[in-house]
Symmetry: C2
Subunit: 354 residues, 2 copies
């Protein structure tokens, strides 16, 4: 065996379960974590929130690291994910954003015309968000499991920016996408570059994987996604390819878009509970890991029903190239004890492909 091969073997052995699964390599147990595992479902998070707003937490490294690590300690999950909000980098470059409790991010200066793009200058994490780097370094020093870096995708951020806040129809944003393709392209390119800058800095500071959240993309037809969203994501994921860290993409309700998602080549694709893992893998084609996809509402079912639903997902698991997760974020009313139990159930399962 050459020394290079030994080195490869050694580094593979050392790679944590999460990273191996995202790379499509065999694992001893399926890795499991939960989207929104840090947050309102945990009493220890609600305790921290009594003294600080969401934005204040993200700006104070010791608090952000603390809430990021809370679910790791409590549930024994296989990954930490940076506690943040997708609008954090926008706020860091000076876009006037407020996160209103019960509403979401509200933007005082919505983007409606080319002149409004000025506010979206390049994001330079070292100077614009030193607390971001500090938070990641703190987490990586303390965490027993790898950290996943976190960013919002261009369409979803563009919707907030164009609408001026959360929207159910995304009417203004989609109308801009359909009517002003050049302005829209400039907007989403800038947002892609901001995500790239943020994720590269997060990996440089210690994150071992990244996930891009495209929360609102389920509102688009295939044609709309292909024309208005794919260029920005191709730019974003292309700029991350040399990083080495696996890149996951998740969009709620994006089951009809999987063939398009495969085109920009994320390492892994998050599937919500409406796309069976086996179907998702088949539609993506070879070379993609999948993440998901227990329906988050099953947490509210009695144990035998919960165990049955977890078993259904595990039966449909490919074993290799699967990170267990919910099909969407933890609902705030979830009982954290039930989440811990899900981790146990997944870890008891033999992926059968070691």
């Amino acid at each position: 065996m050459t020394s290079a091969a030994v080195e490869t073997m050694r580094s593979e052995k050392l790679a944590p379960r999460l990273v191996r699964a995202l790379r499509g390599e065999p694992v001893d147990r399926l890795p499991v974590w939960f989207m929104r595992q840090a947050g309102r479902s945990l009493p220890e998070y609600r305790e921290v929130r009594k003294g600080a707003s969401l934005m204040e937490i993200t700006h104070r490294a010791e608090l952000a690291a603390e809430v990021t690590l809370q679910p790791v300690r409590r549930h024994g999950v296989d990954a930490a994910i940076l506690f943040s909000d997708i609008v954090t980098p926008l706020e860091a470059i000076g876009v006037p954003i407020e996160i209103k409790p019960g509403v979401g991010p509200v933007i005082a200066t919505p983007v409606r015309a080319a002149g409004d793009l000025k506010q979206l200058r390049a994001f330079e994490p070292q100077s614009d968000a030193p607390w971001l780097i500090e938070t990641i370094e703190l987490i990586c020093r303390e965490s027993p499991v790898p950290l996943i870096g976190f960013a919002g995708a261009p369409f979803t951020l563009a919707s907030y920016l164009v609408e001026g806040g959360p929207s159910r129809s995304h009417a203004r944003a989609k109308a801009m996408m359909l009517s002003e393709p050049q302005l829209w392209r400039e907007l989403t390119d800038r947002l892609a570059d901001i995500a790239v800058a943020s994720l590269r800095a997060q990996v440089a500071a210690g994150a071992q994987a990244v996930q891009v959240f495209d929360s609102w993309v389920g509102s688009l037809s295939v044609a709309q996604y292909r024309e208005g969203v794919l260029p920005g994501l191709t730019r974003l994921f292309g700029e991350l390819r040399d990083l080495g860290a696996p890149r996951t993409y998740f969009g709620l309700g994006s089951g009809h878009l999987l063939e398009e998602i495969a085109r920009f080549e994320p390492s892994a694709v998050g599937l919500d509970w409406r796309v069976p893992l086996s179907e998702g893998r088949a539609r993506l084609g070879a070379g993609f890991a999948v993440q998901g996809n227990l329906d988050p509402v099953t947490v509210f079912c009695p144990e035998p029903v919960l165990a049955r639903e977890v078993a259904k997902v595990l039966e449909d698991s490919p074993g290799i190239g699967h990170v267990f997760n919910l099909g969407h974020g933890v609902l705030p009313e979830s009982d954290p004890g039930v989440l811990t139990h899900i981790v146990e159930l997944v870890h008891q399962h033999d992926p059968g492909v070691q």
Copy 2:
């Protein structure tokens, strides 16, 4: 030619464009109407609403008929649809429901256990809702186009009843569906029977077609839909089959459920903007008309873009068996002049199959 054949020919000639399209028969022009065409997009509706709440309007036949006919007069659409709310029959049998502006239906006595089902007694339109029959008769006397009867589907109504109001996750309702299949079945059977009673009465009073709205069904996986929703819909649509009036089913975000929807044999299926008409027809199989599916946000685009988007839908139209509509309800901020223009664009189109 037998006299029966002559009769058939005559009745077919007399059948309005909407009914012919829903039956899969050739039409001179594609029929077009808009979900939520009656309502907040029209200044004449907002005028009526100044003096009466939504529930009051549904209870006063002359007002309900007036707002139902407003979009027919203004836009020249090919159908009227009863102005109502899906919870109206529940309110009529005494369930304590309030429609809170900006929130939606709120139910004081949510269904959480078998004992809570008592409040869902049989709906007897003649005695429980004489205003409903009166409204339909008034509309049919005055309307130049056919009236579509209106009802809510069991899953969507069950979600309101179990949650006690609108919900984004439908967590309690879905947890009941997964955990207490017998209670859930009893609940959804009762709701199916209520819809049947309402729709049969509406057709008896003059409605020439019916549409069942299943607004929240897009939140379900195929397996969840098959086990928890299909039985109620099979019951509901089975009980309407002898009516003669075409039966349309629409559920937002139900693109992944089309193969299941075909099983209970609606006459027509509403497709939202995420499922191309040609794809929807292919997946449903032979014998189904389709309705849709212009993205409602295109109403906010400048005319050339709007015309292009309408043309795309028309290019994908099968000609026979297609009712033009939006892919979801009219957004309240829509300019009614633009809606009228869409009707003109559709009517200018030659379906090419007369």
